[in-house]
């Protein structure tokens, strides 16, 4: 046999082998399998997920639980992979999204199943606060089950630093903050630490909330508050002033080093969500109220600016029955009490076992359950604006921080709201 022919046969075999995956039957479909997609890989959250999965397996023996996590970028890497799977109509059975309008695109594209019936059969309409249910509802229906609640409108500080500076306490309004900033700067410290772009957006959101109040803030996302109006312009102007007394020109590379600057004493305040609690208390082992303390961000006492991780049921899920069982686990009192103390967040339900939540979490839970607390959703973390508008706001904010043109920023954000709705 000539060499040429052997070579040809070999090439043919290689080509056939390469084509093999195309015809293999989709993963030897075991009926007792469940694929759940999340970006919970950090310390604390992966333990919380594991605890919930153990409990789920105890209730559903023999289930092969596939934990499809993608780490990095607070979920932004995971979202890119998820998008390609959803576009290819190859969805995981259940996937994580931030509760709220982050899910709007999925709903309008028919990627997720309406779960309103599950809410009714499990009695969740009574155990989740109405402010949360409002934000979960998209076009009249509910499509995801929230596992936890984080709070965004918080300002973190070291109480010892405050007394050393002779400050009576954390500022109650942004104008008081700016007054304190003068004192702090005269002592050679940075009044406010910030981090990468998203932490600046987080700051913008808390300034808008503090300056415009609950109704003004909510109106920004529904169109009732005019972005181009004088009140909003004033609030954005305050934001620029706050940014001017921060370390934005040499901002920390991430939110942990941002908090480090406060704890090491080079900066005095940092506005950040309450995932800081897990970092300060569990990772850095600092003492609550002695070495670190927290208050509602200026002007937002009695307001709870929330974000929440929630799970969905995909349209076309291969294991839809098990996925529903998973969602019941996510929404159950036991499941939430297993997950949240480990992650350092509080349950979305208002009936948890209080003895599990200490220090900051106890205070947080009390505020969450207080019927007088007004609940609003976070912009930066996907509750009040859909993905398209949110990413356009990212761009506009990046330009605002560079050129300081408030009028242009407000006009762009306003225009983009209509373009992307």
């Amino acid at each position: 046999m000539s060499q040429g022919r052997i070579g040809f046969v070999v090439l043919l075999l290689i080509a056939l082998l390469a084509a093999l995956p195309l015809v293999s039957p989709g993963d030897a479909a075991s009926a007792h399998q469940l694929e759940v997609f999340s970006w919970w890989t950090g310390p604390g959250e992966d333990e919380g997920l594991a605890a919930m999965v153990d409990e789920f397996k105890r209730r559903n023996p023999g289930v092969d639980f596939i934990n499809a996590t993608v780490s990095g970028g607070a979920g932004s890497n995971a979202k890119a992979i998820l998008a390609s799977r959803l576009l290819a109509n190859d969805p995981p059975d259940s996937y994580q999204r931030h509760a709220g309008l982050e899910l709007q695109d999925d709903v309008r594209s028919g990627k997720v199943v309406d779960l309103t019936d599950l809410y009714e059969s499990e009695g969740w309409m009574e155990v989740f606060p109405p402010g949360l249910l409002d934000n979960l509802t998209i076009d009249g229906k509910i499509y995801s089950v929230p596992v936890n609640i984080h709070r965004a409108n918080l300002i973190w500080y070291d109480p010892r630093a405050l007394s050393a500076l002779g400050l009576p306490g954390p500022p109650q309004s942004w104008s008081e903050f700016l007054e304190q900033a003068t004192t702090i700067q005269s002592r050679g410290k940075t009044p406010l630490a910030v981090g990468p772009q998203w932490t600046q957006k987080h700051l913008l959101e808390t300034v808008l909330l503090g300056e415009l109040g609950v109704d003004g803030y909510l109106g920004l996302w529904t169109g009732r508050t005019a972005w181009r109006g004088p009140k909003v312009t004033q609030a954005i102007d305050t934001f620029m002033k706050v940014l001017a007394v921060s370390d934005v020109k040499s901002a920390a590379a991430d939110w942990q080093p941002q908090l480090d600057r406060v704890m090491s004493g080079s900066a005095v305040y940092a506005v950040m969500g309450d995932w800081s609690y897990a970092y300060l208390a569990l990772t850095k082992k600092l003492g609550w109220q002695s070495e670190y303390a927290v208050a509602a961000s200026p002007g937002s006492a009695g307001i709870f600016d929330f974000l929440s991780d929630s799970f969905t049921l995909s349209v076309g899920a291969r294991h839809s029955r098990l996925a529903r069982e998973w969602l019941i686990e996510c929404g159950s009192r036991l499941g939430q009490d297993l997950f949240n103390p480990r992650k350092g967040s509080i349950p979305a339900r208002t009936d948890p076992d209080e003895s599990l939540y200490h220090e900051y979490l106890a205070w947080d839970l009390q505020q969450w359950r207080d019927p007088n607390t007004r609940i609003v959703g976070s912009l930066t973390h996907g509750v009040v604006a859909n993905n398209a508008w949110n990413s356009e706001i990212d761009t506009a904010l990046g330009l605002l921080v560079q050129d300081g043109d408030i009028g242009k920023f407000a006009a762009t954000v306003d225009d983009k709201r209509l373009e992307t709705s």
Binding site: L11, K249, S250, L399, T420
Partner: protein, 322 residues
């Protein structure tokens, strides 16, 4: 990096198949091109589908209004392209990529050439230096970015770190810079530093290979004719290094236009160091603007083709004349 230094045309005529066909003189002659076609068919199909097919698909998406998770294949003409040129962020990105490319290409060339010249002179422990200079290329751009993010830190006072700390420790504190946090175009120019650091070793290797290829006899002859060392360099070495230089420039240019991971990791979403490829990623996967992402990708492809195309054509022509 997949670009070969020099593109050779396939060997002409296929001498070997002809020798094999001698056996089959008695049999019915099959057309000679058939076996060849069958051999390259798998890769032809794969390239046709996965490269050109997807390019075509991408261009198709760039003329639609597809946004979000519902693919839309309508036709809106060049609206997306026009919108891009009215987009302030895009204009900023174009400015940034031009600055980045200029600093990165010139810097890497100069640095690589300098190192090659020094090594060519025959330093003791040449092999060691050669490997050391090449190592940065073996590190992924993301790891490079994480390290340089710290080196280029611009904290002040007690937060001083990285290069600024080094400078102030040796009494050169006045050289302190904000690096990638600087105002205007300086930020993106500073990021060309780690990129150049990573690639200059590779350029050095290219130049070193080129220099080794210049026969010593030519240089000797020039010296005997009374040329000074500078004249030998300018009139003998430089022209003979031209093909290597052109290859190096083309490789660096297309790497520069595609650079993503380094910029992504060094300061996430900072518009100061935003480039078209980053904008493409964020607008597609954060915002779901598939139409805009595809438009940016198409413009990038055209940009790279404008750089690489003439080069490949000229190398093919050169190869054919041989």
């Amino acid at each position: 990096m997949s670009l070969p230094v020099d593109v050779h045309p396939p060997p002409r005529g296929g001498r070997i198949p002809r020798a094999a066909s001698v056996h089959r003189v008695g049999r019915r002659r099959r057309p000679q091109w058939l076996a060849g076609l069958l051999l390259i068919l798998p890769s032809l199909l794969a390239i046709g589908l996965f490269v050109y097919g997807f390019i075509g698909w991408n261009v198709r998406v760039s003329v639609t209004s597809w946004r979000g998770l519902t693919p839309t294949y309508d036709f809106v003409g060049v609206r997306n392209y026009l919108a891009l040129w009215g987009d302030e962020r895009w204009r900023l990105d174009v400015r940034n990529i031009v600055i980045f490319t200029t600093v990165f290409v010139i810097g890497s060339l100069a640095l690589g050439f300098g190192m090659a010249t020094l090594l060519e002179k025959g330093v003791r422990g040449q092999g060691f230096y050669r490997s050391v200079y090449l190592f940065p290329m073996a590190i992924s751009f993301v790891a490079t970015a994480i390290v340089w993010r710290w080196l280029l830190d611009n904290g002040t006072g007690s937060d001083t770190a990285g290069i600024n700390k080094l400078l102030s420790d040796v009494g050169l504190g006045w050289l302190r810079s904000d690096w990638h946090r600087s105002e205007g175009g300086w930020a993106i120019a500073a990021v060309a530093l780690p990129a150049g650091w990573a690639l200059s070793g590779y350029v050095m290797a290219l130049f070193l290979a080129g220099m080794r290829n210049i026969p010593n006899a030519v240089r000797e002859a020039a010296r005997i004719d009374g040329a000074t060392e500078a004249q030998v360099f300018w009139h003998v070495t430089r022209p003979m290094l031209r093909p290597v230089t052109v290859s190096a420039i083309v490789i660096l240019l297309h790497i520069s236009l595609k650079t993503f991971d380094l910029l992504y990791a060094i300061d996430q979403r900072s518009l100061k160091i935003d480039t078209p490829s980053l904008y493409m990623w964020f607008t597609t996967f954060d915002g779901g603007f598939y139409n805009r992402g595809a438009t940016i990708a198409t413009v990038l492809l055209i940009g790279i083709a404008l750089v690489v195309g003439p080069y490949i054509r000229s190398s093919l022509r050169r190869g054919g004349a041989r």
